[in-house]
């Protein structure tokens, strides 16, 4: 039994956690849910001993938990892998037997472990640098499995997994549960939570607002607890009128054949989604369009201009949101204001004061949780960072949006806000091309859904009518 008593922690003026208490019995899965910035990651980090609470304490089987006794293992929201080590070494990092060890033996153990989890295809001997992000996510989970810790904390472990991989993870969680582990699970996907969790704790602004068995809550209950108000329309879809064509790609082939011979048109007033498995090349498609990857053959025409650089794109009101927040999505050392104003064209002079005041406008409009526009972005929760990345496009007055997994890591409430923003933009006459691994959202807001499969755009469906089975079938054929 894991117990938390009155945990509180403040980062300066931000109260990340306030007097949170709960208990998680062995053999059950406890879901921790809440909006972005509600304190979920902070809570998990405290439980894992990575952060010290300013008040309260954590007990495991009625003993105070000391950091470093390996009872608790945290799988981080932001991946914590060493790209220069092999997959096997990453799994056993910090537990590699010493002083001498045999890489071959370690790889065998890792392979056995991964196979046991249902992922025999992950190469244990290769450098982690070259693995796709989904496989890297699995490695993090394998690390928890390898330690065999009685308490396992999973912070948004599914954020970059495919449907199939998610299923394997659920199976794994069930196995662990059966073995009597205590599992805490953070996710923004309600259906996922229903699938694996037994109990639920809901946080809002660092305060526990509800807890109980998952079966006792309806989706609407959960959302109401999270955002503090009633939400009726998950996927707003106003009447949109399709206008002129803003983006045309023809037989586009990029480096590594990603994408391969892709053709697509996106018009004003429509949202086009791209579905597909991990590694299908959706990211590459968007990055190639935006001029971040080389075009091997074929054409990209944006507003009748060909092969523009990122700078030229921003200047012609085309904006891009990257999927890897930490890498190139946002600049975490810069302030909120600097991040928002960076892409917008300006003259020779930079006016920080002006930037702050316009940033404040977007902070209010999108409901970004932060102290002030000068706060460095690294202090914001993941979802709020994502909103800042989105605010850039609005500030630069873009009419063509290229959004790569725009809702990754965003809570339900914020997602709904983001959908509303996208819908409003489309209604204004903006064109949106977005990728997502979350089919319901594509079906909910897209006018058309293209499916990508190993670099090819294999089919385009009507977003309103297509069902998930068709989309899945196209993805894996």
């Amino acid at each position: 039994m894991l117990r938390a008593h009155g945990l509180s922690l403040a980062f300066g003026a931000t109260l990340a956690l306030q007097d949170v208490s709960f208990s998680a019995p062995a053999g059950r899965v406890l879901a921790v849910i809440g909006e972005n910035g509600s304190g979920k990651s902070t809570l998990l980090k405290i439980l894992a001993g990575e952060l010290r609470p300013q008040a309260g304490q954590v007990e495991w089987n009625d003993q105070p938990l000391r950091p470093g006794d390996d009872q608790v293992l945290l799988v981080h929201q932001e991946l914590a892998l060493c790209p220069d080590l092999t997959a096997a070494e990453n799994i056993f990092l910090g537990r590699i037997p010493g002083p001498r060890y045999s890489p071959a033996q370690l790889q065998d153990r890792a392979h056995a472990l991964l196979s046991g989890m249902g992922f025999p295809e992950i190469p244990a001997a290769g450098p982690t640098r070259t693995l796709p992000i989904s496989q890297r996510q699995i490695l993090e989970i394998a690390r928890a499995e390898a330690r065999d810790a009685p308490v396992i904390l999973l912070d948004e472990p599914t954020s970059s997994l495919t449907q199939a991989d998610k299923q394997k993870l659920y199976d794994l969680i069930r196995t662990l549960k059966a073995r009597g582990r205590t599992i805490l699970f953070v996710s923004h996907f309600l259906e996922e939570i229903r699938e694996v969790a037994d109990d639920v704790v809901i946080l809002r602004d660092g305060v526990k607002v509800a807890e109980g068995q998952i079966g006792d809550f309806t989706d609407a209950d959960i959302v109401r607890h999270m955002v503090g108000r009633n939400v009726d329309d998950f996927f707003p879809r106003s009447d949109r009128t399709r206008g002129e064509c803003l983006l045309t790609i023809e037989n586009l082939t990029g480096t590594d054949d990603m994408p391969h011979q892709a053709s697509l048109q996106v018009h004003r007033g429509e949202i086009v989604g791209v579905a597909g498995l991990n590694g299908a090349g959706r990211t590459e498609l968007l990055r190639t369009i935006f001029g971040l990857r080389e075009i091997k053959s074929g054409q990209v025409q944006v507003k009748n201009l060909a092969s523009l650089s990122p700078r030229a794109h921003w200047r012609t009101q085309t904006g891009f949101v990257s999927e890897e927040r930490k890498l190139d999505g946002v600049a975490t050392d810069l302030s909120v204001a600097e991040n928002i104003t960076l892409p917008r064209r300006q003259g020779f002079l930079n006016r920080p004061a002006e930037g702050r005041s316009v940033a404040q406008r977007w902070i209010d409009e999108l409901g970004v949780k932060c102290k002030d526009p000068d706060q460095p972005l690294q202090d914001l929760s993941g979802g709020n960072q994502q909103k800042v990345a989105f605010a850039r496009l609005l500030h630069a007055e873009c009419d063509l949006f290229l959004l790569d997994e725009p809702t990754r890591g965003i809570d339900v409430g914020s997602k709904i806000e983001l959908y509303a923003q996208m819908d409003a933009a489309a209604q204004r006459g903006c064109a949106i091309l977005m990728t997502s691994s979350y089919l319901p959202e594509l079906q909910g807001i897209c006018d058309r859904i293209a499916v990508m499969n190993r670099g090819r755009l294999v089919a385009i469906h009507d977003g309103r009518t297509v069902d998930s089975a068709t989309l899945m079938a196209d993805s894996i054929q």
Partner: protein
């Protein structure tokens, strides 16, 4: 850009060090001519520190600064010698610096080999060039008087200037550079690149161009520093300014620059140069041995940096 608030502490520390020496040598340290001299002695490192701060803020480093300074003294002296024109000599120094900086910048962005190793190479090679074009001999130009006056002692009728013209150039450059980092788009882009290069690229910042511009700007400052050195020694000397890059980097770091990029303070860098010159001057007049002075300088830099980091840490905890 955070950190600006540690500047008062740094200035306080500088005054403290100054006073400490003043107690030991009141006659020397409480005089206007001493301030003049301090400026004169920190000028070369100070100007270079401005250039290197920009490079550091952009996430780079330049180990070739000292060699560029030396090369600039050589080309400046040779131009002065051959044309007799001070204007041409000034142009030669600045141009030399600019070209070297451009070269560094282009190599770094094209090769993708990292600034440390590229500028390490140019540190070696540019000094070779300086030796080559000077025929391995110092160049003694027939110097028209006023190139010397740029950094020379003030005459009685020039007393009103307080510090020599070169010093005023430094003051103006410090102000201009500090302003530009904060209030121009270029400066903002430099900070963005140093903070997160990939994100800056996604946001449409022309990363390579800005980087090259930063190295070129830095190079021009090293050229200017070379001009000041030429004015001070009236010699084009290929073996001068050896290791000066390290002093410049130290000044920038004392001033608040972070070698991981994205942070730097121009005024701080100039004060950093003054701090080091004060220690040097103090140890000199008090008559300490060189080895004591070396250890002392090291310890003071370390303390400055440690205090700064400590404050930064407390700050990030306290909010």
């Amino acid at each position: 850009m955070k950190k600006d608030h540690s500047l008062p502490i740094l200035i306080g520390a500088w005054i403290l060090i100054y006073l400490a020496f003043a107690v030991a040598k009141p006659g020397v340290f409480f005089s206007l001519s001493n301030v003049e001299q301090l400026v004169r002695q920190s000028l070369v490192i100070g100007l270079g520190a401005l250039g290197i701060t920009y490079i550091i803020v952009a996430g780079g480093i330049d180990l070739s600064a000292g060699s560029v300074v030396a090369l600039a003294t050589v080309t400046g002296a040779m131009t002065l010698d051959q044309t007799g024109s001070v204007g041409a000599a000034i142009g030669a120094c600045l141009l030399t610096g600019l070209v070297c900086g451009l070269l560094n910048g282009v190599l770094i962005t094209r090769l993708g080999a990292g600034p440390f190793i590229v500028t390490l190479v140019s540190m070696l090679a540019l000094r070779g060039v300086a030796k080559g074009i000077s025929g391995e001999k110092p160049v003694y130009p027939e110097a028209p008087q006023w190139i010397g006056q740029l950094t020379g002692a003030l005459t009685a009728e020039n007393r009103w200037m307080i510090i020599p013209p070169g010093g005023w150039i430094w003051v103006v450059c410090t102000a201009a550079f500090a302003w530009a980092l904060r209030y121009t788009t270029f400066g903002r882009n430099v900070v963005a690149i140093g903070s997160n290069e990939a994100a800056a690229r996604v946001c449409g910042v022309q990363v390579n161009r800005v980087k090259v511009a930063t190295y070129a700007l830095g190079g021009a400052m090293f050229g200017l520093a070379g001009l000041m050195l030429l004015s001070r020694t009236r010699t084009g000397d290929m073996s001068s300014a050896m290791g000066a890059e390290l002093s410049m980097i130290a000044a920038a770091v004392i001033g608040g620059a972070s070698l991981s990029g994205g942070q730097g303070n121009l005024v701080g860098a100039s004060v950093g140069a003054l701090v080091m010159a004060t220690i040097n001057m103090g140890c000199n007049t008090v008559g300490l041995s060189n080895w004591v002075q070396e250890i002392l300088t090291g310890v003071i830099i370390l303390v400055a940096v440690a205090v700064d980091r400590l404050r930064a840490r407390q700050l990030s905890v306290a909010g």
